[in-house]
């Protein structure tokens, strides 16, 4: 850096600044590698979108949570009518296998989150959290979906993992206030919860397609309850607000499905 010593700039000012920027860049590089790994692992949870539109890919695709979930079929699909509700037992059996394979995938994500937590905790949390917040939200929503299906010790479907449950599953603290370290924030949890609702709204329709007529009711009840919860929040004009405004459409979608089954 060519700075004349007799000019206005005392020597060393910009050099020490450059060192600080370079240190930050090194941190960002290290974080980026870990976040990319997490992103890749997280994408495997979302392969359904690919599978549903691309036959070729679906043959080789890893059977992960969402992709498997929306394809679980009963051996015999009968005509949809209300008397068939008792026939859902087969799906109830099928789901635990999806949950256990999903949990194996989530375990790998959790390993990556531990690495991220270790690296990120050396720096001010909010200085770099933009680098991983989306991937953490995705991981959180995979865990919530897995928990809703009866994973993570919730033997019954239709249960909501709390932010503390998710933190425990990830092995990280939640909503930290008294110290500066890696953690899961309330906003991230709420964003993930909305993603869960989006996924469940799809699942309600796909359950019917696959012959499961009881699950949409369970989903409808769940979404309504979560919706009621979001309504007591005083959200500002941010992304959380925008996305939470969409919950009412999920409520209606699922209610329509339930209505069609009557």
């Amino acid at each position: 850096m060519a700075v004349n010593s007799d000019g206005m700039i005392e020597s060393g000012i910009f050099e020490s600044l450059q060192r600080k920027i370079d240190d930050d860049s090194a941190v960002k590089d290290a974080l980026r590698d870990i976040v990319q790994e997490l992103e890749k692992q997280g994408k495997e949870d979302a392969l359904f979108f690919v599978c549903s539109t691309d036959r070729h890919r679906s043959d080789n695709a890893v059977h992960t949570l969402k992709s498997s979930l929306h394809r679980i079929r009963r051996p015999y699909v009968s005509q949809p009518c209300s008397q068939q509700w008792q026939l859902t037992a087969n799906t109830e059996v099928a789901v635990p296998s999806v949950v256990s394979s999903a949990q194996a995938n989530i375990d790998r994500e959790v390993q990556t989150i531990h690495k991220l937590s270790e690296t990120a905790s050396k720096e001010p949390y909010y200085k770099f959290n933009y680098a991983w917040t989306r991937q953490i939200q995705d991981a959180c929503s995979s865990i919530l979906l897995c928990g809703w299906l009866g994973g993570f010790g919730k033997s019954l479907a239709g249960q909501l993992l709390t932010i503390e449950d998710v933190g425990q599953a990830m092995g990280v603290p939640v909503n930290l206030k008294d110290r500066d370290a890696f953690h899961l924030t309330i906003e991230e949890y709420l964003q993930a919860l909305i993603s869960l609702l989006d996924e469940l709204a799809r699942l309600a329709r796909n359950s019917v397609t696959l012959g499961d007529y009881r699950r949409p009711q369970l989903i409808a009840q769940f979404i309504k309850e979560v919706h009621a919860g979001f309504q007591i929040l005083n959200l500002k004009n941010d992304t959380l607000r925008k996305r939470s405004d969409g919950i009412k459409y999920r409520v209606k979608e699922v209610e329509d499905v339930v209505y069609d089954l009557r």
Binding site: L17, I21, P124, Y126, A228, G229, N234
Partner: protein, 269 residues
Amino acid sequence: MENQEKMDRFMPMFEHFRAELDEHHDRRERITKASRDITAASKKIIFTLQRVQTLNQPIPQHAVKANKQYYDAITAQVSAVSMDLQGLNAWRYNRQITGGCQEWMEAACFQHYLETASLLSHDDAAQKLKELDPNGPGIRLSPEDWVLGVYDMTGELMRFAITAMATSGELPSIKSPSSSEAMDVDNAATRQQRNVLTDMRGLRAALEGLDTGFGPFAKDASMKMRVMQTSVEKVEKALYGLIVRGAERPKGWMPEVEGGGGRAVEVEG
């Protein structure tokens, strides 16, 4: 009835979230408001400083007096929110406070230059900002805020230089101890004496030499880089006009500046 009970299953959790989010939003709003007030007061300080026509000398009393109320306003705002910006929250609300910090840095840096003809270092600036909250923990000045403030300060140097050229017909120079005479603009090209323009070029070189990496800061810096380069070029064009027109310039003549001092308008905005 049972349905209503079931509907309340998640309510305690959401009530807890509401309390936490309300606290967060209130704090964020306080900081945003303080940042805006600090920005407004800093801009007014800069206006006053632009009326100063001396360089490398103490700020004249009239300007010091005029600016006192704004310094007081900044001190009050900094003290009001410094507790909200500690620990985890220093970076959490960085986006809310950064505007105020940058504008304050611009004012402090400009004043420091007028007084000493030197660049206010990050350490000294951070110390100055901390002193604005004598009874509290103070606000942190990030290296990023410092650089972005320096970028903006080049715009003030541009306005200062052009005003000086328009009113006195010469570029403000920094008198080295050996030369007591004010520099004659006709010799500007041949003499190596420091003036506002040589300092701006030095700053430009230093800022251009920084490798800002990637991320939000790099984005802000590259936007300000263009404005800073334009500021230097405006002074260069004005000096060219001054040399070419020389003594012929009519009364009320203003240096020709492409874009009609767009930066000046921005500053006032």
